[in-house]
Subunit: 216 residues, 2 copies
DNA sequence: CTCCAAACTTGTAGTGACTACAACTATGGA
DNA sequence: TCCATAGTTGTAGTCACTACAAGTTTGGAG
């Protein structure tokens, strides 16, 4: 029994757990494929279940909502919170966030997922339900960031923390839209530097506003 | 026929139209009462219909979604957009928005609805569906504001307009939360000046960040 | 190896928002 | 007086999601 607990803390991956994750991954993959192909709202959970050859219930056993089928794994929105938590407390808050955003951007531009990014973004953009979910994620990040800011920068008053978190959230939103604008339908690896440059320029405008105010 | 068109353009209010508006108002009032009393998610549309003595279908004839029963009439979120459209183009954008917010705040503090404001806010806060709707409204305002900004300040580039709109939206959100914090459960008319002062201070912090940057 | 309890999966039966549609009723105007 | 139209209603259905009970699989104890 103790052994069991210990092994669970480590990387216990029995057949059971493995199968479970396998099923989960299968459902998620099948669902993502269908959603990207036909649109989120045009695919029912029942269809996903049938395509993955599982019961509808099984889908909901693994994913609390239909939206989670697409927003799986992605705790991307926790990134900036972690950046704050790990920040050098001497560094300026905005600078830390800006640096994080640029790092993240460069990684994304060199990721294998870059080619599917546009289609993914479009799928979200075309579904009211997914847009709502994205907004909810953003708010969740904001709440966590307020906490992180107060933990890491104790001299910051609550209102200040809320202002910074809200402004970063707004900045991120604008930059994500800009990214969708900058990235062509079929991004070329050879042009990554160009995309990067365009985004750096945009980030400079956006974070510049946060750092120095608008026309300040 | 021409007469009909003309009369429609004017204030044609026949019995039919009057009854319709009456029904609509009745449904909205009954629904708001139930929602505030028992919580949005604890009341079904069927209950609202029964309480208003109409068919469920009739509810949906007047209100496209359940959320609209509460967020009726309120086009409050259009205010800042109108402020931009009517702004003196010579004035600074942020200053216009700040002034609008403060004006709006003062009106609200002296409105007859102030006493029910907290209960209303709590109703929203306690319902995931209403929170989602509020986020959607905020985004809608932001989109309209981008357009208004570009119309009124042609020298502003699209990215700049998006940044300002997003930052104002973030600012408004933070200030609304602050307002809920400042306003006591049972606001006293004799203390309005106190609430106002506290909010002015908060607005100064928030808009100060927009104008001059964070610690800029 | 045997067998049990826990973990997973599945089917059934619901709830609740919302839609489509057809039938009914009241109203305004000819 | 009468009809076309606007507004109301009931019926039937879809879809996400829940509760629950009944399988099925698996890990581990004896």
């Amino acid at each position: 029994m103790l052994a069991k607990l210990l092994s669970m803390e480590n990387q216990e991956v029995g057949r059971r757990e493995r199968k479970k994750q396998q099923t989960r991954q299968l459902i998620s993959d099948v669902a993502t494929g269908l959603f990207m192909e036909r649109g989120f709202d045009q695919v029912t959970v029942a269809e996903v279940a049938k395509a993955a050859d599982v019961a509808v219930q099984t889908v909901f056993n693994h994913f609390p909502t239909k939206e989670d089928l697409l927003f799986d794994e992605d705790a991307w929105w926790l990134g900036p919170v972690r950046a704050i938590r790990e920040a050098d407390p001497g560094a300026g808050v905005i600078e830390v966030l800006e640096q994080y955003y640029l790092d993240e951007l460069r990684m994304r531009l060199r990721s294998e997922h870059l080619v599917t990014w546009k289609a993914f973004a479009r799928t979200i953009e075309e579904s009211p339900a997914l847009l709502a979910r994205r907004r909810k994620n953003a708010e969740e990040m904001e709440v966590l960031m307020v906490q992180a800011l107060q933990d890491r920068y104790p001299q910051l008053d609550p209102l200040g923390a809320r202002v910074i978190a809200a402004q970063y959230q707004a900045a991120q939103k604008v930059l994500e839209a800009e990214f969708a604008r900058v990235l062509p339908e079929q991004p070329q690896a050879s042009h990554v530097a160009r995309y990067e440059e365009a985004m750096e320029e945009a980030a400079d405008v956006v974070f510049g506003a946060l750092k120095h105010g608008w026309r300040g």
